[in-house]
Symmetry: D2
Subunit: 286 residues, 4 copies
């Protein structure tokens, strides 16, 4: 049985590592704040003292870090993954990072003799706990194949998308569609309300027909309540729309509607809603 490592035990990483352990895998963990390792050790994990130690003692190391800076540090920093990886060992970075960070880590891992897979996920805390994430991988296909059994404990759907960068690109496409759907939804709710319709009836009709989707169902009551507790920050959605439009620029793909959604989310940022949930774009539409 291969030995697995897990670096980064935050809101997402902890339940993900736990799912691997509960499935009977051999798991070695590390976290910057060591205390977070205890519950996993209690479940059967081995704890070590650095990313380097994880990488050099495991066949395949997973990482789920908070941001690009943390992902970069875990690889390139002192006692980092790069000091431990070699001999074809695998590194699967599931953090959401930008292209440049992802490519830099990938290149360094490969140069050090390891194999790299980018694997950003779709889904938040609950799916991480339930093992129902959607995992978008790209990079070394042999590593993808070898990690299949473990990935299946973390998510309900895993896809191999090609060269490093295609995982991030898929996330952009999805978030761009999400931003456009949210804008259309908010405009519809606003128009209906101004037109004397009852928003709960609009939601009921939407939910019964061909447009029914979990997002409308989840966010609809938030629009009605005018209360937008942050699940996915509005400023991140705006950033992704901006990047998607820029990608369209690079690829020669006009995106009239996404560009429009981008400007509307930008207006919501300018109006002070950057840190609210992205559904708060309703505030500048309604």
């Amino acid at each position: 049985m291969p030995k697995y490592g897990f670096i980064g035990l935050g809101i997402m990483g902890s339940p993900m590592a736990a799912n691997l352990i509960k499935a009977g895998f051999d798991v070695t963990v590390w976290n910057r704040t060591p205390g977070k390792c205890a519950p996993l050790v209690a479940l059967g994990a081995r704890q070590v003292e650095s990313p380097r130690q994880v990488a050099e003692s495991c066949d395949i190391t997973f990482a789920m870090l908070a941001d690009p800076a943390a992902a970069h540090a875990a690889s390139f920093g002192p006692e980092g993954v790069l000091e431990g990886i070699s001999d074809g060992r695998g590194y699967i970075d599931m953090s959401t990072v930008d292209d440049a960070t992802s490519c830099a880590i990938a290149a360094a891992i490969v140069k050090a003799g390891g194999r790299f897979l980018e694997a950003p996920v779709f889904g938040t805390k609950k799916p991480a706990e339930d093992g129902t994430l959607i995992i978008l991988t790209a990079g070394d296909q042999s590593l993808y194949d070898e990690a299949a059994a473990a990935l299946d404990k973390l998510g309900k759907l895993r896809l191999y998308l090609g060269a490093v960068g295609q995982g991030a690109r898929m996330k952009l496409v999805l978030n761009m569609i999400m931003g456009g759907m949210m804008t259309a939804f908010c405009e519809g709710m606003a128009l209906g309300q101004k037109g004397g319709l009852d928003c709960s009836q609009i939601l009921a009709v939407l939910d019964a027909g061909p447009l029914a989707n979990p997002m409308f169902k989840g966010k609809g009551p938030m629009l009605m309540a005018g209360n937008f507790p942050t699940s996915f920050p509005l400023k991140h959605m705006q950033k992704d729309l901006r990047l998607a439009v820029a990608l369209g620029d690079k690829l020669g793909q006009p995106l009239h509607s996404a560009a429009m959604a981008n400007e509307t989310f930008k207006r919501a940022c300018a109006a002070g809603h950057a840190d609210e949930d992205f559904s708060a774009v309703y505030r500048v539409i309604g």
Copy 2:
């Protein structure tokens, strides 16, 4: 038990009337082409010779006619509904008609002593057969209440939305959201494809996450095949977007994204795709 009438036995009307008969209701039918009545008579319906005869012999008469002209003729024409309705009898027009036609029929029915309910539906042939339409009613609420048992055999969801006109307005709101979602979907598929992603993987990811909806699932393969057999004609979607934007104009509701979608559907019309399915908007985006 109340006596029900049913006028208009086309693709939609025939299975709807059949559902009422199979449910044990007393149903009288009429159709312009009388031959279409035979299968319903075989199921137990009574056949008469004019809309007038339906209206004067039934407590509640349903109509499902092909277009505003047919709806207008059935009411106002010789031997029409208006000649037979009186004494508080009910007329429920489920045809999709414009505001002006709906209001003209409503006013005439009320003036003649009858009660009127507009009841456009969301859903096509299959839901009509399965009795799973979504029914958007507006007008006389007592008639809505009395017709509840029958409406429940025709649809899986029925809503009472207020004064005549609100049913049509709800349909506009829904179609506007649908047009915006389709535009966002097509832009996402086009961007992904230009970016080297596999469209079937985009569809798989969409279908596994918070944006999953029957429309993407149904239309996605059509986008991939570049083949758009008409379910809802593109020109009708463009008309509804135009009317929704005009409604926003009237109500003081800016609709940047819907306006953009309207122009894009308009471009698809100008490019010769008016009679294809509305998902053929992909042809001018991709």
Copy 3:
């Protein structure tokens, strides 16, 4: 020498009629408030008591009325133009009216035996006084030719555009371009200001180069001062954008940018700036 009539002596009509008299033409005037005729009589005009009397005593009658209702009343009302026109006499309506009003008047004049020319103008009080209006005519071309000498005293440019309705259509095209230019101008000023540029320097550069135009020169200082005294009401610009987009709808011409400008002006209306100058759209952009 032909005899000219002039109906409607408001802010525009008075100086226009005066220009005809000063040019030595024989002019007969009427105004609903008769007192407004005195200064023109002092210049040499003949005053009569109704539109009918003007029309039946003159070869060519001009009208410059406040709105469609006034234009309609002057033609169709008691003692109106239609009671006096016949024998090929000409009626040139320079009021800004909607298509329907214009066509109704045109048809009635022709039926009564007269000739009709629609002639909306581009320009306000000052050009009316200076005889430098831009006159957009459509309708009876023989009347256009016969009135040439008089039109040349009213405006610096006159165009014959074809059938009745083309004058109004040309105004829509111009106002649509004007609305788009104003939106681009406001966005540029807003971006420059946020970027630390001095707006007066932006105006100076604009005025020195290929984009220099009287509108930027006139409205620029208003944008800087944040003060928008009404010359052309914002709500009228929004109406014209709406009509232009609707015309594009009818003619199969997508208008992404005009549609966007329309929504932005709509937002300015919704924010309470409907009665300010149309340049006040800057308030919702800047």
Copy 4:
């Protein structure tokens, strides 16, 4: 009298240097292809063999180079400006370069003991010959003041805009307005034409009223002829719109109309018109 240098004698630089010489200034020139110096030497210029020699022998050196790479090479390359500049000598770069290049050159010049002014121009060959360029300067204000007499021979308007980078920013704002105006113009012409108006009449009316500007006058006949000889390449306009929208992103300024124009120019690029004049955007609108 100060000694002036001029580096880069292309289509723009040659007539600019000639204007300085004809005005009686002491001018030293260099060009990569030395043959281009001959006509200027005939007018009285001194010719040297490298940018270094220009910089070290002149008080103020102007540069007008073809692109960022050429501008970079002239400063940083062997025998470049940086090897000759010191003691407060001035370097005025009038090339159109990106922010990064401009800031890199500025920093290096200052570090070497020189003074730097960025000075992109608005205007092409003809204004360069006529000395009627618009000069947008930013950087060292003392250098701006000292160079005033010379700048006045090159342009009809010169502005000092602040820190290095503001010159480029002003150009973005102007080009963004230009792109929006062009889009509005093309939509208006297209709508008019579809509506049966004569485009030459639209141009005549535009040219007589408040929207009259040299760009419409110059490009209008090109739109009518459907022929777009390149003066400012469409792809450059699209790039500037992209950068302007990105600047809006950074500064929190929503730009719905500029974003829309960007997508439309992007569509024109995708349709194969990237190298035509930017007015060829008409091809995808009309």
